[in-house]
Symmetry: C2
Subunit: 183 residues, 2 copies
Amino acid sequence: MEMGKKTARTTTTEALLGLLSICPMSGYEVRQMVETSIGNFWSESYGQIYPALKRMVADGLAEMKETRTEGRPAKKVYSLTERGQERLGEWLGIPAERQVYRNELLLKLFFGSRAEMPFLRSQIEVRRNALAVDLARYHEIEKRVLGFDEQPGKKFWLMTVRYGIAEAKALMVWCDDCLKEMQ
Amino acid sequence: MEMGKKTARTTTTEALLGLLSICPMSGYEVRQMVETSIGNFWSESYGQIYPALKRMVADGLAEMKETRTEGRPAKKVYSLTERGQERLGEWLGIPAERQVYRNELLLKLFFGSRAEMPFLRSQIEVRRNALAVDLARYHEIEKRVLGFDEQPGKKFWLMTVRYGIAEAKALMVWCDDCLKEMQ
DNA sequence: GGGTGCATGTAATGGGTTACATGATTCT
DNA sequence: AGAATCATGTAACCCATTACATGCACCC
């Protein structure tokens, strides 16, 4: 019953390995990075980040150096150790698992016959609008990334952005189809 | 900092309200329903279902009746009360929130410059294949649902299936684009 | 007697967000 | 003096999965 998965699950630690591989950072900067660069498909809160960084140092995956900049509070900058880089490499080699994302909109839609049609339509309209906003933002990001100098990460960042674009476009079409159905 | 969301979050209870509105069921049957009908966009485990059903009875949202069928273990069948139906209606009226899904594949891809290209390609190939399998299954489901008699839920079930189809198709194209990029 | 499917549940564990708590520095 | 931003952390809580525990009924 309800079977065994030996959980080699991806977690905060792996995300931090990746981020620190781009450049050494403090916990606060990690949080900002998450929001500005991988925020479209990943999230981390302080409550996860700070303890994880500590653990990584304890496990020999990262090193900490306290630094002071003129006119700023002191900060603790973390960088990967040799072992941390190895660990990152290992993790990148394991195929990503697909968990079932819980999709609240689809759940509500599935029970649509119990709802009032106008409410339901508005559900879809709200989503369509949100997707349009996303799409515009993704195009912005794409343009910005295209402007970067040639660097190793560039092509991969573009791929992640284009995932967002492909998904948003497809789902907008789906929304339109649904709205037609609901007349 | 890290702001207040007054959490009217969707949870097991709401999903159960919906499922029980389709027909009265036992916890065991709920689990089966989840796997066979909404499993593509929702998940629930026994560890959630049984306690939630109990709570719903305590909150006056559902009623329990123990029934015995010849040659089967006894089971506890739950059905919605008046209040349960109202609660379902209210929930259906609230626009679904979008949480940021954590997408492990994109996370790995974002750090792609630290990985070996063959590993990375295989990540994408694995995903492409999984999507193809999904797509075939969705088409199967679509065909089956189209065969149903006319009933209130039918058009909504089709919408949820077509969401899966739209998404899978778009992401397969994305996979192909990525693979071309990675040569 | 043993495997399988039906059926109900709890406890341990994991992983995450939110709220709380504190403090430096800079700008207005 | 007060607001905003930079900076670090902990504790409470929530929700979910996994593993464990039990038992009936049926068929081989």
